[in-house]
Amino acid sequence: MLSILLWLPLVFGIVALLVPAARAWVPALAGTALTLVLAAVVAVGFDPGDPGRYAESVSWIPELGISYSLAIDGLSVFLVLLTALAWVPAVAFAASRNAGDGRERLFYFMLLLGETATLGAFLASDLILFVLFFDLMIVPFYFLFGLWGRTRDGATAGGATTKMIIYTLVGSLLMLVAAVAVGFSAEEVSGKPISYSIPELIARGIGESDQYWLFWLFALAFFIKMPLFPFNGWMPDAYRVAPLPALAVFSAVLSKVGAYGFLRVVLPVMPDAAELFQTAILIFAVVSIIYGSAIAFTKIDLRMIIGFSSVAQLGFITLGIFALDETGANGALFQMINHGLVVVPAILIVGLIAERTGSEDLGPMGGLAKNAPIFAVIFLIVTMATLAIPGSPNFIGEFLILNGTFQVSVAIAIVASVGVALAAYYALRMYQRTMQNPLPPGSDSREISLRDALIIVPMVLVLVILAFAPQIVLGETGDAVSAVVEKVGQLG
């Protein structure tokens, strides 16, 4: 079941390579839709009490202890669902705006390869497999950003993308080294033959002194991927050039893989280190919140505002994880899902705004709501969720995170809450300066088309449903997350 779910997008991606370019979107859209259905079936059938239900494992390279094993549990189930959900509007958005450059086949192949790689990272329950998918994820996006990305003056985006891939690969390679070392260390500790199965690694544990340096190699890779300050250097350039559908899934899902890695690997395998470096990581996180918010506060480029607000949001998520508290970590996982749900529509809306105004800068914009009340309301809901207004699922996420942080350090929690106030300003400003104020000449205030509404509204609806009952998610994830945190807690 999980294998089908995992490879389905890639299969459809290959099919997309074989059909005429103008029709390449059909298998792509069908593939993502089917993946979503399958993911939904898995999620509905998921039972927190029986996490082994869908697990599958095949020995791959037995000499090295590497196996092809997939599993789904409370940590991953909603992230898998989010991935499957986020890819559908992204592909649909790309399909509705076919470039007609004759390279669509490759585009959809890359996009679907990206989905398989991301699903792989969430589903893998073997450390080496996780690292492989983690590295594979970036490859299709290198091509998507490099070949289809455009800078402001219309040039292709080779340079910025190369920078991104080198930087993230450096992090990933360090993590590969660390992963191998984790296997050996666990072998040494347990005296049993080498294995990279994550549950096995957790059971064996690794030497305390090894934990301390391995921890930072993992943390570095995840920080770069998320990204957190001061490792966000690749982000502005990549965000500036990326084609919007690719950026939507990239920002919504790929950044979460880093945070997920902390919950999946770092905390359970390296609990001593997590506890020792807790304060350091919390400070990284809170600095990211303030830094990301402060920059988003001053930017007028819509992509940059969303990009830096993501830095702040991932700061919150990291804060929740490293509160090492039940409520904080649950809030963090919930917030990963919420942020994904918010970012996809937000980025696609940037595309719609640019189509109406010919710009992605707030400066010359305004008044778009005039003939487009429905569009304005959709954007307003997304804005309110972005700034985590109480009543939105994002608020519950932030509330739990702050609650968890508060148990550890009151000062950090208070500084982090400053980020909430800044978010209110920059998110609302984004809405106001596009939708309200006078409509400048040359801007076209037209209503969102039915097709675009069908692409964007479903994700907004999911947000609204979660607003009424966040327990839908929290109830399923609670046990798994608590288990991770308790693992660390047992030490103290």
Binding site: P236, I389, F399, Q407, Q432, P438
Partner: protein
């Protein structure tokens, strides 16, 4: 039906109304939105009465009901239900909110009739009422925060309702951001409560608090101060008050409903709701009382000098809420709630009257231009006078009974509370002065052109509307009162909205005649059961003495106003000359806007700018460039080996082969 079901219905109707209008806005014929909106609130009011009757049928000690629909969020020990809590205090607020809202909705059907954003307006307005009721009925702190933030959002949406105006959107932003600061205060308070007590439901918290906290323990003081941050931000108390005057950019019914009668008093409700915590933290309660008094004085001085009609009333609102904070801060909860109610009546009425006047003046709100409107708008003028009398605390009006009950209580507490009471009397004098400054300046005298036109022809025609603040033309298509302004006199809807409030503003005080009726106190008694402060009630004789004081001050204040603005109009000008620095201070609103700008906005912008210019390129960019150039230079090193010369490759191979052979030989040997 049970009391709880009635209470859920109270919440359901406005939400349903808002959604029906929102989803049907393209299909709803003509002006149905107004009818749907008003009906929804009317039904909520009826459901509120159902709740009241349900509650009254219980014996007084069991007059509280908690009910929940489903588990909202539960993680570990943290359990939050989608639950409500109904007790006399909540029902009291429900009735005030739904009742006043209903009248304002009806008023709005007429006031907004020519506005293109008609459906949008009623959808927002219904949503606001829903949020306010959620705030009032919430059964735990999380739901309270949700309602709290939703009213902030609705307030934002309605302040910037005419979103074509840059001044309106800026005002909306300011209101929203300051309210978010308040929300954060509440969030931190809730988290602290959870940390200390492990629960978030009202009943559980109030049960546990006295067992866990000792009086004035720092944690409970911190909780209460954080709650006060939320309360001050929502209720426009110092230093979070600057948004309220700007919020007057919204349509006048909005000012009337949200920024006078209901939302801004939520802070007072919050303190009354959480009285068991505040009684454990007298220090925080004193802060509430002192801030209330300072606000009422500062706002009063500003109201004396500004010339924008709606802003005068807005500052007056701040000042009146200051009285309410004084009341709940010193433990006079029922007096505070009573003043909240009477204030809702007379202040909503004043705003409605102001709306009627502003409509005639083509949205010009400057009282300098208004003259002789008494003859042109007799009905509105009557309502304005009634509202001003009640506001000033003229004997036997509602404001007289409610405001002076608070000050009595403060006097009776004695000690340094006497200073607060005296300051309150000073404020009362200013209140009478500025209330009748409005009346005496705009009603009598030679009619201004608009008034003259109205008297002669029965209607007023206006040219193209411009925003008086910045001279930009208004855009009728995105929602702005059309050229056909409504004259209150001629529109039954507006009359229907104003008349009941006018009557209530006059007679509602008789609900609470000391020693005679005291309906409000008796009704709210079960909520404040066990409060040591609420029991310190001044005896009837002292209460009447206090009322006498208050009445005298009100009458003297009105007399002074008459002297200043009718009898000898030269006096205010010469006073302004004489106390020029003071005048400057007041007219610039004590420079709070400038202060906040310099202390908060500027540093944040500078920090962001610093991050952008220094940290981003040099630190963050430096790490990236460093890493990538490290990788690149390592690549460049190896790249030179890739010369493309076959013979170079061949020699390398030979050397390599020899090295391997030598290695094997040496190791083997």
């Amino acid at each position: 039906m049970t009391t709880a079901s009635w209470a859920w219905l109270v919440l359901l109707f406005p939400l349903l109304g808002s959604m029906v209008i929102a989803f049907g806005f393209r299909r709803l014929p003509d002006r149905t939105a107004g009818i749907i909106g008003s009906t929804a609130i009317g039904l909520a009011f009826i459901a509120g009465i159902g709740t009241l009757l349900g509650l009254l049928s219980e014996p007084s000690e069991s007059r509280h009901v908690a009910s929940s629909l489903w588990e909202y969020a539960g993680v570990g020990d943290l359990r939050v239900d989608l639950g409500i809590f109904v007790d006399p205090l909540a029902v009291f607020m429900v009735l005030v909110v739904t009742g006043v809202s209903f009248l304002i909705h009806v008023y709005s059907t007429a006031y907004m009739e020519s506005d293109q954003g008609y459906s949008r307006f009623f959808s927002y307005l219904n949503f606001f009422v829903f949020s306010m009721l959620l705030l009032v009925l919430a059964g735990n702190f999380v739901l309270l925060i949700i309602g709290w933030a939703f009213v902030g959002f609705a307030s934002y949406a309605l302040i910037s309702f005419w979103y074509r105006r840059t001044t309106a959107t800026a005002a909306g932003m300011k209101a929203f951001v300051i309210n978010v600061v308040g929300d954060i205060g509440l969030v931190l308070a809730a988290i602290l409560i959870f940390r200390e007590l492990g629960v978030l439901d009202y009943e559980a918290v109030f049960d546990a608090a006295p067992k866990v906290f000792s009086t004035d323990q720092w944690t409970v003081v911190a909780i209460c101060l954080l709650l006060l941050v939320g309360a001050f931000a929502k209720s426009a108390q110092l230093p979070f008050h600057t948004w309220l005057a700007d919020a007057m950019e919204g349509p006048t019914p909005v000012s009337s409903l949200i920024h006078a009668a209901t939302m801004v008093t939520a802070g007072v409700y919050l303190v009354a709701r959480t009285w068991p915590l505040f009684e454990l933290a007298p220090a925080a309660a004193n802060v509430a009382a002192i801030v209330g008094v300072v606000t009422l004085l500062v706002a009063g001085t500003i109201a004396l000098v500004v010339t924008d009609l709606k802003r005068i009333i807005a500052y007056s609102t701040m000042s009146q809420i200051g009285y309410m904070f004084l009341a709940v801060g010193i433990g006079a909860y029922s007096a505070g709630m009573f003043h909240l109610m009477t204030h809702a009546f007379f202040k909503a009425l004043l705003f409605m009257a102001a709306g009627s006047i502003i409509a005639v003046m083509a949205n010009d709100q400057n009282i300098d231009r208004m003259r002789g409107l008494g003859k042109a708008l007799p009905f509105t003028a009557a309502m304005l006078v009634i509202g001003s009398l009640a506001l000033s605390g003229f004997p036997f009006t509602s404001g007289w009974f409610s405001k002076d009950e608070i000050l009595d209580f403060a006097l009776y507490r004695g000690g340094w509370y006497t200073i607060l009471a005296i300051a309150g009397y000073v404020g009362a004098f200013m209140t009478a002065l500025y209330a009748f400054r409005i009346v005496f300046r705009i009603l009598p005298g030679r009619p201004c052109p608009e008034a003259e036109e109205l008297i002669e022809t029965g209607h007023v025609a206006h040219g193209e509307a411009v925003n008086p603040a910045n001279g930009q033309p208004e855009d009728y298509e995105v929602g702005y009162p059309g050229k056909e302004h409504h004259i209150a006199e001629q529109s039954p809807g507006m009359r229907f909205g104003m008349l009941p409030l006018g009557v209530l503003a006059l007679i509602a005080g008789f609900l609470q005649v000391p020693g005679v009726t005291e309906v409000v106190t008796k009704f709210l008694e079960p909520t404040f059961e066990g409060s040591s402060l609420a029991a310190i009630h001044p005896p009837v004789s002292k209460a009447w003495l206090g009322l006498l004081n208050g009445g005298v001050i009100a009458v003297v204040g009105i007399a002074f106003a008459w002297v200043f603005w009718v009898r000898r109009p030269a006096i205010p000008g010469s006073l302004r000359q004489k106390f020029h620095p003071l005048y400057e201070l007041f007219v610039h609103k004590w420079y709070f806007d400038e202060l906040i700008h310099a202390v908060i906005v500027r540093p944040v912008l500078a920090f962001g700018d610093f991050c952008n210019r220094v940290v981003e390129p040099f630190v963050v960019g430096g790490i990236v460039t460093g890493t990538t150039s490290l990788v690149r230079s390592a690549g460049a090193l190896v790249r030179d080996l890739q010369s493309g010369m076959i013979r170079a490759y061949a020699s390398l191979m030979v050397v390599g082969a020899i090295a391997v052979v030598l290695f094997l030989l040496l190791r083997g040997g």
